[in-house]
């Protein structure tokens, strides 16, 4: 009896599991598939043809319309997003790593207090910060500049939290000791020894911060009026709001949405190995 039931049970549950996962996969992928199909259609076919099947393949026309509309403002937005996200995440990862490393490896008074302040920072909703930041920045005159979006983006309390955990897990005390015995200063030790051991973790922190900045919308919306400074998210949001008056914008909103997603998806697939190991070590406390 006990020899037969498990196999039958497992065959049933195997089929059920696969069916459930296929349904969920359709749920997750269908909107993306719809977007791809819609981005290849001429505006006129959007409403008149079925959304999940291709009609005329006009992707390249749509792309050229997208990038030439309003003197090529979309290209500017894309460039802005890249600047905010790449620079912001790079600087943010470096300062998070320095801080997290110090919190993991140096013993000093107030260390746990500083760490709890940072953890408290993780819990603070960033949208609640945006309005007071706007008031402070307008007092100093950097509202409506690149800095207004860039500067707050480099701060990632979650990045420091991860950097501390990763350092504790990946940088053994003995290696640091031997570097110090060889006469290397703390910075030298950090940059030439610890950073190498931390590289996979730093890629993870960079990725998370990159996505957070790339996806950010509320902060730029509060800070920026000048269209030429907008990131993609804010630009497309603005276009989307105009589609009622200018229906021809709809195709550009769709094609633009696709363009804004593709680089991040490629980045994810290329760097899969990193975020997977990163998340795994992040979950071990």
């Amino acid at each position: 009896m006990s020899n037969q039931t498990p196999t039958r049970e497992s065959r049933v549950s195997r089929t059920a599991a696969m069916a459930l996962m296929f349904l969920l996969a359709i749920y997750f992928l269908l909107p993306l598939y719809f977007l791809i199909v819609a981005a290849t259609k001429p505006q006129g076919d959007l409403a008149s043809t079925f959304g999940l099947t291709f009609s005329h393949f006009d992707l390249f026309t749509n792309l050229s319309t997208l990038f030439t509309r309003s003197d090529g403002i979309f290209g500017r937005w894309a460039l802005n997003s890249v600047i905010y996200a790449v620079l912001g995440a790079a600087v943010g990862t470096l300062i998070s790593a320095l801080c997290g490393y110090a919190l993991a490896k140096f013993k000093f008074r107030g260390r746990e207090f500083l760490f709890s302040v940072i953890l408290g920072g993780v819990l603070v909703p960033t949208t609640a910060l945006a309005l007071p930041l706007f008031l402070l920045f307008s007092a100093t005159g950097i509202v409506n500049t690149y800095l207004a979006v860039f500067l707050p983006s480099i701060v990632s309390p979650f990045g420091v939290y991860l950097a501390r955990i990763f350092t504790a897990a990946a940088v053994p005390e003995e290696i640091l000791e031997s570097a110090r015995l060889d006469g290397a200063g703390e910075f030298r030790t950090f940059f030439s020894v610890a950073l190498k051991l931390l590289t996979p973790s730093l890629v993870t922190i960079f990725l998370f911060q990159f996505v957070a900045i790339w996806n950010n919308f509320f902060l730029p919306m509060v800070m920026l009026q000048k269209e030429s400074l907008f990131p993609i998210t804010l630009g497309l949001y603005q276009w989307n709001g105009q589609t009622a008056r200018a229906p021809l914008l709809q195709e550009s909103v769709i094609t633009g949405s696709l363009v804004s997603i593709v680089p991040v998806i490629i980045l994810f697939i290329l760097l899969q190995r990193f975020w997977r190991t990163g998340l795994a070590s992040g979950s071990i406390k």
Binding site: F108, L131, I265, R276
Partner: protein, 315 residues
Amino acid sequence: MTDTATRATRVVATPGGRSRHNGGGPRAGTIAAFLIPFFLPFVLFYLVPIAYAIWQSFLVVRRTGGQYGTSYTTFGGFEQYVQVFQNTEFWNSIGRIGLFGIVQVPVMLFIALIIALLLDTPLLKLKAFFRIAAFMPYAVPGVIAAIMWSFLYSPQLSPLVDLLKAIGLQPDFLGPGAVLWSAANVSTWLWTGYNMLIMFSALQAIPQELYEAAKLDGASNWAIAWRIKVPIIAPSIILTTVFSIIGTLQLYAEPAVLRQISSNISSTFTPNMLAYAVASGNNYQQAAAISVVIAVITFVLSFGFMRLTSKRAGL
């Protein structure tokens, strides 16, 4: 900052300065050099705005001599907070977001947990594909996700509406009763995979030997999943719950986009939308008070949830 640095000097500095034995360590100046690049912007762009918002929330703008007199700003005590709590739109937005969170967060985390558990069993094939499929939406900005779904909700463009009509239904995703759940669906779509991945990573860290004994005792896959795996990854489930609570209270982009196509979303639909609307009306002190209240509620809920669950798990 300096305070910490000087205190650190006092404690850390040992005779010989850079000796690393018996509680020695790098000099306070070196430690500070590691910490300051993060803490300086953290203080400027996190702590100072919080302090500034709190300060602003205690101010009121008054006028001398009636409606056309000159205005001046003065200390108003809790006046702004009284106004926030008397504002029905504020309570409506809190009620909406509360309803949203009570339904959306458990549904999303339950789906995430099921996927994580299935990916961790030998039952499933094509695991890499399913994992990436679920995680893919995380790469999509909230605004873009909402724009995509708004096309899927719109009666003119949506293939979903076409399909549902073909089987005789008349869906109205943007109607007054449905629009909150249409927004909830966007959040669920966006974040399930992210939460799943955190849980899945925790599952993978469990040593396989733990299951051997249970299997020898004849425990089914279900029993192993619910009685062994879920309790072990409880910390990750708590973490994802806390992040979801924070995310729910911050909700802005998704309803703001749906508002562009649905008249059933007001400009004060969520607390954050209300704060933004009030700030746009130049009432910064009131907007600051709303922001402070949102932050306090977030903090109390997420911190309270962590305390509650860790106590239960710890005892």
